[in-house]
Amino acid sequence: MPEITLIEGLRQAMDEELARDERVFIVGEDVGPRGGVFRATQGLFEKYGAGRVIDSPLAELSIVGVGIGAALYGMRPICEIQFADFIYPALNQIINEAAKICYRSAGEWTVPMVIRAPYGGGIGGGLYHSQSVETLFCHVPGLKVVIPSTPYDAKGLLKSAVRDPNPVLVFEPKKGYRLIKGEVPEGEGELVPLGQARITRQGSDLSVIAYGMMHYYCLQAAEAVARDGIEVEVVDLRTLKPLDKQAILSSIKKTGKVLIVHEDNLTGGFGAEIAAILADEAFTDLDAPIRRLAGPDVPAVPYSHPLQSWFMPDAEKIAAAMRDLAAY
């Protein structure tokens, strides 16, 4: 199997879905001849034409709102938000509309659509090109939220998202776009089902729960602490909503200790929900406090290099937190 990058996995997924189903189309800023500012849609405009790879006006709420309308009509839009930081103008459309249409119409109408957005820090993007925004959406019934951390999952999850009959947000760890490589079968790729976490490393001393770029660092950190004899079990959530609660509960049953890692701000981040579930449903399995390692509570990742490093959780900080918890 050939090794490809995470972003190439995404590109292949879109290419294959465009070829498979003529209702599928892409819409967003600079997705056409430019191929997207990260080149995720490179070549697709040339292959499928301006009718199916549409350069939108510079206006996120209408990218999503028009996508919803098209989905109501029976199309399968893939909406690109250029950076997750720019998704806020579309929140009314996502939260008040896309998420609620199925319920509010008693199932008469559904919104099969995908919203893709690069997210996360560590790339010198400063406050507005580094944000993690997944938490907001994980709180909203009616949405699904997917964050891949490998090329294989990126391709397989995005394909599943396109075929899903609900609004699905796919947040892509942009720092990993070219950094993370992995094997992906050639040709018509495999689907990765939404809603299933994956244990990417077995261990008995403590469980680490992560997703996206942080999952990548958690694996590195787990290797590092293994040298000190600490065996960490690593859970890659892959889909945050719906959450694979069973996978988490079983891991904690086994290890009794848990560290949750995300780069989004600590307070009220997605780690809080995981911790809350465990503090209720795994209460008797826990033999240490539930620990979270997350971005600090400042408005976003600062630009200047030393400040960015201060903000971002990385393999070293994660390893330190693992050691600390293992010693509890």
């Binding site: 206006a59 309308g69 199309m75 009314n92 199925c102 509010r104 008693a106 109408w109 009616g142």
Partner: protein, 336 residues
């Protein structure tokens, strides 16, 4: 002056005219009854379309009903009746009963959806529907289907960026969509002059690069003509049109409102004298499309249909409590 039926250029037959009048009348009687039910404490909320009926029915009859797509707003009772909503269904919805076709009792009344008639579910946050209509029109264009989308909105809500973005997109891509603005001069208490610095909503079209027309929305034939023209343009691939219908809301904003704090009784009385229902009746009588007895008979029939619908809904069941939990996702629909 009101358009005479003869002057009116489109091909409305006598039957159409009578059906249009009937629909306005039925909407009016249902709407009035809802106000009574609210005062009696038998329903919790009502938002009214009284004064807007000519604009709504005129627009609806310019569509190929069941073919074209409609993304309405909360004042559009008369429009949705034109498209096939039954009085019983309306009655179920105002009581939050099972069988309400818009939402099975989940949404407030007058938040329409009628799948069988291509009436798309809309919400309360104003102007979100605009981009949906544009997306539908995009879908129509992509599939090459022979349909047109129309979406309605109040003049105040055109202050929302959402509205601007939708209209802009449609103008750029020449999409088959009609933007109908029911301009009743008020957004709850706030007058048009506080919502925009142009005289007519139709003036906004110039800045967006699409045609805009402003018509007397109390004149059903004028509205019918303007929307028919817009629909022809859309079908001919000539893109979107903005149609402004100048109307007046003859009631408070909703059953929660008291309009005395923001407009004079004289102003309301003045507009009441221009009631679009009376006006259309006068036109039809004048042109001898209807005899006075027929008008009276239709009114009696409308009242009876309303009585029957309300009775039906009052004895209907509420949704079961277990229904509250779904369908959050499309996967839950089989259970619904």
């Amino acid at each position: 002056m009101a358009t005479t039926v003869e002057e009116h250029s489109t091909s409305l037959r006598k039957d159409d005219l009578i059906e249009m009048y009937w629909t306005m009348l039925l909407a009016r009687r249902l709407d009035e009854r809802a106000w009574v039910l609210h005062r009696q404490g038998r329903i919790a909320f009502h938002i009214s379309g009284i004064g807007h009926e000519a604009a709504q029915v005129g627009a609806a009859f310019a569509l190929r009903r069941g073919v074209d797509w409609v993304v309405p707003y909360y004042r559009d009772l008369a429009m949705i009746l034109s498209l096939g909503l039954t009085p019983r269904e309306f009655a179920l919805s105002i009581m939050g009963k099972k069988g309400d076709p818009s939402s099975g009792g989940r949404q407030m009344p007058s938040h329409w959806s009628l799948r069988r008639a291509n009436v798309v579910s809309h919400s309360a946050p104003v102007a979100t529907q605009t981009t949906h209509a544009v997306g539908i029109a995009l879908g129509i264009k992509m599939t090459g289907d022979d349909a047109v989308a129309i979406t309605s909105i109040g003049e105040g809500s055109t202050a929302q960026g959402e509205w601007y973005e939708g209209v802009n997109w449609a103008a750029i891509h020449h999409l088959p969509v009609i933007f109908l603005v029911e301009n009743n001069m008020y957004a709850i208490s706030v007058r048009q002059e506080q919502q925009m610095a142009v005289r007519h909503v139709a003036d906004k079209a110039a800045g967006l690069g699409l045609p805009g027309v402003s018509v007397d929305g109390m004149d059903i034939l004028k509205v019918h003509e303007a929307v028919s023209e817009a629909a022809s343009r859309a079908r001919a691939g000539e893109g979107p049109t903005l149609v402004e219908a100048k109307v007046y809301r003859l009631t408070p904003h909703s059953s929660d409102d008291d309009d005395r704090s923001y407009r004079s009784r004289e102003e309301v009385a003045e507009w009441r004298a221009r009631d679009p229902l009376d006006r259309f009746a006068a036109q039809l009588l004048d042109q001898r499309h209807l005899a006075p007895e027929a008008v009276a008979e239709m009114d009696a029939r409308a009242r009876q249909e309303v009585d029957e619908a309300i009775q039906f809904a009052e004895s209907a069941l509420y949704p079961e409590v277990s229904e509250g939990a779904y369908p959050v996702y499309a996967e839950d629909i089989p259970h619904a």
